[in-house]
Amino acid sequence: MLDKLINLDRRIIYLIVLLSVIIPLMNPMGLEIKVTDSVRASYEAYEKLPPDSLILMSIDYGPSTAVELEPMALAACDQAMRHNQKVAFMALYPEGQALINRLIARIKTLHPDKEYGVDFVNLGYKAGNEAVPLKMGLDFRGQFPTDTRGTPLSDVDMLRNLTQLKQFALVATYSAGFPGALEHIRITASEYGMPLVVGTTAVQTPQYFPYYDSKQIVGLIGGLRGAAEYEKLSGFTGTATGGMEAQSFAHFTVAGLIILANILTFLRLARGREK
């Protein structure tokens, strides 16, 4: 019996995990989400900017991690639009450009009064990883001569007077890995001294904590939890808050399974010794 439980059929484990995700999604409990300092700092970085401030938002994730990163990017976009700030989107990640399209589509739905080129613009994807922010700081217009529609930056209303990276009031990267946050931390923040907000997946958050601690970045949003905290602060109704309940139960389920497996292994060892 003990051996049977230790070697539990993986399909049973899959079913338990599936139920632990589906049930909370269908029956939300409205659990309270506590806001951590690193997320509050990210929120404040946008909040303290005056209207018409230029924000450079780097969308450095693909569809596989969009569930974690898109809610925080969307909540930040909504916050910027509500404060009449201007957002220029770019991507170091090849798939980022298509996800910028999706963010822009959502902005258009949420803020029908906001216009492309006036309130937000898509500068698109640039290949070159670390070389992209490096060249952005040396010659911004040389790096992005046009937006993705082929309009020269001098003809894009919100970027008409922009020639240097330093004219942006804030840079934010929502990053799933390489290239992304690390390239912006090394070059955009450390080399050019730009205030940088980093949003990243839960798995990567511990890696970026030292940069937040040393104040190399102004804020850090970690995973779906961070996105849910951001939604709470900004009052934005997104998918992260609901997703956190499913994640809560999934974490408890996996933790419970690990405890069970350890107890069973311990019991088997104890029996072995008795024999």
């Binding site: 995990v17 309270e32 506590k34 596989s64 991690t65 298509a98 990883n129 070389a131 082929g150 939890r225």
Partner: protein, 224 residues
């Protein structure tokens, strides 16, 4: 002979120039120009990757290697995506400079409704594998693994709202588990460990880079 010496010479000169320009301000323009070159090389790497993909998969299809049908699907997907992305404009829509990958195009539709769900599904499946693997492998067999298990438990359980709610109901309000995890585990132990890893890997990277610049490490040339 020259086939090895010329790349070694180019590597030495490029590496040296990039180091020197960083410290001597009037030579900064070299770094600026080389950054542009690097971007061009990166873009060409995509073309090279596509050619390599055709060569590797094409050979398997030609030889009817086991599972060749999947190689065929891969190549057809590549060609189809390239064709739609490069040449098909969405009729009836447009503004000056309208790109085939903009919102509302066939390429965008394909990305949003084919690639996007497939990619999200693949990534979501890892949750099931992780649960199954944790059940079988995550055992407290030694002091180190018990410490790892303990800290993983604290973060996993108490960095989610359900764990915080349970802690709040059981413990006094002055004992805030979120602060403990944020300040002690993430800001303390984690930061110390991460910094050690990052500093050590940076020193390692400098050492390897110097070896490459000076021609001691030559494995990137192939052969020995």
């Amino acid at each position: 002979m020259l086939r090895r010496q010329i790349p070694l010479f180019i590597t030495f000169v490029s590496g040296l120039l990039l180091i020197v320009q960083y410290y001597i301000y009037p030579l900064n323009f070299i770094g600026k120009n080389l950054a542009g070159w690097f971007q061009a090389i990166t873009a060409f790497a995509y073309v090279l990757a596509a050619i390599s993909l055709f060569a590797v998969n094409g050979k398997k299809i030609r030889d009817r290697a086991p599972g060749w049908i999947y190689n065929l699907v891969l190549l057809l997907s590549l060609v189809g995506t390239l064709y739609i992305g490069l040449f098909i404009h969405y009729l009836g829509q447009g503004y000056p400079g309208y790109q085939p990958i903009d919102e509302g195009t066939y390429f965008d539709w394909m990305f949003q409704y084919i690639y996007n769900p497939l990619s999200a599904t693949m990534f979501s499946l890892t949750a099931f594998f992780i649960a199954s693997a944790s059940y079988r492998a995550f055992k407290a067999r030694s002091v180190e693994s018990t410490l790892l298990l303990g800290s993983a438990f604290l973060v996993m359980i108490f960095r989610v709202p359900l764990g915080e709610a349970i802690w709040g109901a059981v413990m006094p309000t002055s004992w805030d588990i979120t602060v403990f995890i944020e300040d002690i585990i993430m800001g303390g132990f984690n930061n110390a460990g991460q910094r050690a890893i990052q500093i050590a890997s940076a020193i390692g990277l400098i050492s390897v880079s110097l070896k490459i610049i000076l021609g001691v490490e030559r494995s990137y040339l192939g052969g020995d």
